[in-house]
């Protein structure tokens, strides 16, 4: 198989890698806020349950979680899982990343001095206004570097989808490598991930600069 053949096949998997990356962010970034609020809830039961789930999600392998999400419906309820593979990946990734994002959001929120809330309160802001107009803009600036770290990890983690036989870039790479007995596909895949992450870093740095206005 020629180099260009490999390149072509591997890049066809790139689209699926990008889809996992994109959908995971779309769902996990907002979901993280819900989890963060649950974790910070004054209700001890809600915050306790949320803390428990976060610890499970962060304390067990993502690969294992993907398998549970993918095979679970069939093993537990004998549901058909024919079209479930891609949704299962997105569900598994989104829940796992939401747990990480939630802890990042929480750290950002707790970094805001209580005086900001008091000032907003005295000035008559409602709780919702206080959050969106005063707290959130400051939190986003604080957490951006930590979020960037997670996003870079996500680019690489997309390769875990191969564990439930989803055809993305890494599973194709592995297939070619074992049939052609060459390291070349791995080099190509490495280059793809690396360039992908260069782009991610570039975008996030631009964003950080834009938020550094004060």
């Amino acid at each position: 198989m020629s180099f260009f053949n490999m390149l072509e096949q591997i890049s066809s998997g790139m689209l699926h890698t990008i889809l996992i990356f994109f959908f995971t962010l779309v769902f996990s970034l907002p979901l993280g806020w819900i989890v963060a609020f649950g974790r910070m809830s004054k209700n001890k039961i809600i915050s306790g349950i949320t803390a428990f789930f976060i610890s499970i999600l962060r304390g067990t392998p993502l690969m294992l979680q993907l398998m549970v999400v993918f095979y679970g419906p069939y093993f537990l309820f004998q549901l058909p899982i024919g079209n479930w593979r891609f949704p299962a990946i997105i569900v598994g990734f989104s829940i796992n990343y939401a747990a990480y994002f939630a802890e990042i959001y929480r750290s950002g929120i707790s970094a805001i001095p209580v005086g900001q809330y008091e000032a907003a309160h005295i000035l008559g802001y409602t709780k919702v206004q206080t959050f969106f107009k005063i707290i959130l803009p400051q939190v986003i600036r604080i957490i951006l570097p930590a979020v960037t770290n997670e996003v870079i990890t996500l680019v690489k983690d997309t390769s875990l989808a191969f564990s439930i036989s989803y055809i993305e870039m890494f599973s194709i790479t592995k297939q070619i490598a074992s049939t052609q007995t060459t390291l070349m596909p791995f080099a190509i895949a490495a280059a793809f991930y690396y360039i992908f992450n260069l782009l991610v870093s570039f975008v996030m740095r631009r964003l950080e600069k834009r938020l550094n206005y004060y």
Binding site: E118, A119, I122, L123, Y125, P137, Y213, Y214
Partner: protein, 256 residues
């Protein structure tokens, strides 16, 4: 003073933190146009009293009225507030200037001033901007409206904070040790602004450690000690009082 309107009335305020009783049955009134200074040693409860008056802190017992409308009352630790809509209206009566300014760091000076009037009070933006600019001019900060708080000195930040409070047109303005975070040079510029407000008959309640300042601008002074009002009266009455704790307090300050 008895003929003027009473803006704030606090009755029988009690407050404990755990076993420590920081306020023991405090009552006070603030009249229209009056400057009231609250002085006293650290831990005497003066800041707590201010935080209760502005409803940042709950009380265990007592009542708070603004413009003769009850904002909150408490008995045996359970606080009862006015209905949300009424409470919102009542809270419009006062503003607060914090010790460490608490400006919004992500907003420019001008936006710190106009955001609440526009988005909370829903007032006309052009009008609010014009008023905010006039306020900044009064504070000597006209050239700083596009700056972010972090680009200003502490004294400038505190003057912005005063302007921000005034932008909402409160009837009573509270100050919680407004110059404690500032060095002497910057303290002067903030005190000058407060003095100018006093001359305009702005009703103010000032918790402060600046004794000579309190003496100069106050209509009335309260000396608090161990959770009670130990001495109360005109500046002359309070500073010349032969109350032992008051003398001790002033003596300590002189030796500092």
């Amino acid at each position: 003073m008895s003929e003027t309107t009473i803006y704030l009335e606090m009755n029988n305020i009690k407050k404990s933190f755990g076993d420590l009783q920081v306020l023991k049955d405090i009552s006070l009134k603030v009249h229209e146009g009056e400057v009231l200074s609250i002085i006293g040693p650290s831990g005497s409860g003066k800041s707590t009293l201010l935080r209760i008056a502005t409803m940042l802190e709950t009380m265990d017992n007592g009542s708070i009225k603004y413009m003769d409308k009850e904002a909150a009352s408490a008995e045996n630790g359970s606080v009862h507030y006015a209905k949300p809509q009424a409470l919102r209206e009542i809270k419009k009566n006062f503003g607060l200037v914090f010790q460490n300014f608490n400006l919004f760091p992500h907003k420019t000076v001008l936006h710190n001033l106009i955001d609440a009037p526009v988005h909370v009070q829903k007032r006309n933006k052009t009008e609010v901007i014009a008023e905010a600019k006039a306020l900044l001019e009064k504070m000597g900060l006209s050239d700083k409206e596009d700056y972010y708080p972090s680009q200003l000195s502490g004294g400038q930040q505190q003057r912005v904070a005063i302007a921000r409070a005034l932008a909402l047109k409160p009837k009573v303005l509270f100050f919680d040790e407004p110059t404690s975070a500032l060095d002497p040079e910057l303290t002067g510029e903030v005190l000058k602004v407060i003095k100018a407000l006093a001359e305009e008959k702005m009703t103010m309640v000032i918790v402060t450690h600046e004794m000579s300042f309190a003496k100069k601008i106050s209509d009335r002074v309260i000396f608090m000690d161990k959770g009670v009002i130990a001495v109360e009266g005109t500046p002359e009455e309070v500073f010349n009082s032969d109350h032992s704790r008051m003398q001790e307090f002033l003596g300590k300050l002189k030796h500092e």
